[in-house]
């Protein structure tokens, strides 16, 4: 008996140790980026190995980032896409979810089946691409909004939330003469606010992080969303441009880290407060998916 509890104690200590290791390995890369972005370029270049504090605190890298107009254009475009897509996407998602949940309407069953089919079958990359092009919306921000206006998974989550509301409520309203639109926006929507919060977050993160569609549809650089600007700076290494005629390779290095921080800070700031809603969304999707 005593031996087993001893074993358990040892296990608990090891377990806590493993968890601390997980936390360190997950967080350290972010801390490294943070410290590197505040480091002096030359000191950072000659440094090897782990950082435990910024090497000579300076804001030079951030000054370079602020001077770069592409970053601002990227932020602006991302915000335009984000706001438009949220407005359009939420509206269509809620309407579609309500339509799916109607048991009495003849067409809603056909619609539901049609929607579920799209979760299993899709045209694939090339037919999707040609399809979007066929509407002539490539090389415009609409290409980042319209084809992805509704995420089917989010619509199903919303339908599940609507299904959980007792039918009596909307029936009573209908007997009193309210139409479907009135029922949806005055009765249903106020009752599913928590779910709407979750899918708003999903749409936001998805839009904020998306880059591939922008890369294949947009040719004009003035339309680039933030992530595509980041790709040019971080992946294609066109740092020379950002360091303003910078032959200074050293500056380029720390500027890249500063760029990563600038692009990630919005997420890092809201994440701790919203984490529980994200998790909730997974749970809802998993239980009823």
């Amino acid at each position: 008996m005593i031996k087993r509890t001893l074993g358990e104690k040892v296990f608990n200590v090891i377990n806590i140790f493993i968890m601390l290791l997980v936390v360190t390995v997950t967080l350290y890369p972010f801390l490294y980026v943070l410290m590197a972005s505040f480091s002096s370029a030359n000191e950072f270049m000659s440094h090897r190995g782990l950082l435990i504090k910024p090497l000579g605190f300076t804001l030079d890298s951030y000054k370079f980032v602020m001077k770069n107009s592409m970053i601002f254009i990227g932020f602006k475009n991302t915000l335009i896409v984000l706001i438009t897509r949220l407005a359009l996407g939420l509206l269509l998602t809620v309407i579609g979810a309500y339509f799916m949940s109607l048991k009495t309407a003849k067409l809603s069953k056909v619609f539901s089946i049609g929607v579920v089919i799209t979760m299993f079958f899709s045209g694939g990359l090339i037919p999707n691409y040609l399809n979007v092009k066929s509407f002539g919306i490539d090389n415009s921000l609409l290409a980042l909004i319209l084809p992805v206006a509704i995420n089917t998974f989010n619509m199903i989550i919303t339908r599940n939330a609507i299904d959980a509301i007792p039918d009596g409520l909307s029936e009573a309203a209908m007997i009193d003469g309210a139409g479907h639109t009135r029922v949806l926006f005055s009765i249903i929507v106020p009752m599913i606010i928590p779910t709407l919060a979750v899918i708003t977050l999903y749409y936001s993160v998805e839009t904020w992080n998306s880059w591939f569609t922008a890369m294949i549809y947009l040719r004009k650089k003035s339309l680039y969303p933030l992530q595509l600007v980041l790709r040019e700076i971080l992946i294609m290494n066109s740092v020379g441009n950002i360091a303003n005629g910078g032959d200074n390779e050293a500056i380029a290095e720390t500027v890249q880290y500063a760029v990563m921080m600038v692009a990630t800070v919005p997420i890092l700031v809201v994440y701790p407060f919203l984490q529980k809603y994200f998790v909730k969304g997974v749970m809802v999707g998993a239980v009823k998916g």
């Binding site: 997980v22 003849k106 479907h180 992080n209």
Partner: protein
């Protein structure tokens, strides 16, 4: 005669009632219906260009049929075997290493005594999932470059000081390890949810029977979450040939095509970049068909040997 007239009258009448009652929502939902038709079904219809010699000037209807020409061309492609090998290697490596980690992580989290500590660990562990792939891949390429921090740490353990992304043999490990780093925490949520569903009385009964913590895990906890594991496994197997192109496009370069080029990236290069529309669509379709067959097979096998399945 009389009867069918009555039933057709009933039919019309029932539709009339339905339209009177639900016409409003049909009208309001029209944009949603149009969205699915225009952006899902119309693009599904576009798949038939895999069997045609598609040219944008002639359109889908106007292009002539060529049957299975492009599928045969793919099987004879010099890169066919390499693509299949790379796709399966990356996919199986992910299955073997990335799949079990969230399960183990969830089990360990579940054993933590302090709930506050557990919540803190989860808060941190889910974070990388929300960081954009561009930033993650930027980090990977910086950290594994010749003077990057990971390279320096590895050099300390006697490995070469080189830019790891330029060596084909390191591509799969980099891909899988970074995948675990980014997604393992987030993927554990579903198992944590399953763990809360295990009946606490089972643990009491097991401990009365003399089972220690370890035995309880093996005989109570694991069987409790097995249905979830099986469903996740079926879904994984059903997407065995789906190695996402986004991360690979950001990480590979012509030097590492040898191990990094997979079916989806090949489709991207030949379709979007080269404009071989029909050929790349045929490859994509082949990929989806294989995936679909795998999904059905996995589900069937699972139904036969366990109680969990997708349908």
């Amino acid at each position: 005669m009389q009867k069918s007239k009555v039933s057709s009258q009933n039919f019309i009448k029932s539709w009339k009632t339905d339209l009177r009652r639900n016409g409003e929502i049909y009208l309001v939902a029209l944009p949603v219906i149009l969205f699915f038709i225009l952006f899902h079904y119309k693009s599904m219809y576009g798949v038939i260009i895999a069997f045609k010699n598609f040219s944008p000037t002639k359109g889908i209807m106007g292009s002539e049929w060529v049957g299975f020409k492009y599928f045969i061309q793919f099987f004879k492609d010099d890169y066919f075997l390499r693509l299949m090998k790379n796709t399966l290697t990356i996919s199986l490596a992910t299955l073997l290493f990335s799949f079990p980690v969230p399960i183990i992580f969830a089990l360990l989290l579940n054993e933590l005594k302090s709930k506050a500590f557990s919540r803190g660990v989860q808060l941190v562990a889910y974070l990388p999932h929300f960081i954009s792939l561009i930033v993650i891949c930027g980090l990977i390429s910086k950290f594994t470059s010749a003077d990057g921090i990971v390279t320096n740490i590895l050099a300390f353990f006697g490995m070469d000081k080189v830019s790891y992304l330029n060596y084909p043999q390191y591509f799969v490990p980099i891909y899988v390890i970074s995948d675990i780093w980014q997604e393992a925490g987030w993927n554990s949520i579903i198992y944590l949810a399953a763990l809360t569903g295990v009946d606490p009385q089972l643990y009491e009964a097991a401990s009365i029977d003399g089972a220690g913590k370890f035995k309880q895990t093996i005989h109570v906890t694991l069987p409790g979450i097995t249905p979830t594991i099986v469903v996740m496994l079926i879904l994984r197997i059903g997407s065995l040939l789906n190695v996402g192109y986004e991360k690979i496009i950001l990480l590979y370069n012509p030097i590492t095509y040898e191990t990094a080029d997979v079916i989806s990236t090949y489709v991207y290069r030949y379709g979007i970049l080269d404009g071989s529309w029909s050929y790349s669509t045929a490859i994509g379709l082949f990929n989806s068909v294989i995936n679909f067959i795998l999904l059905i097979a996995a589900n069937k096998i699972s139904r036969k040997y366990s109680e969990s399945s997708l349908w």
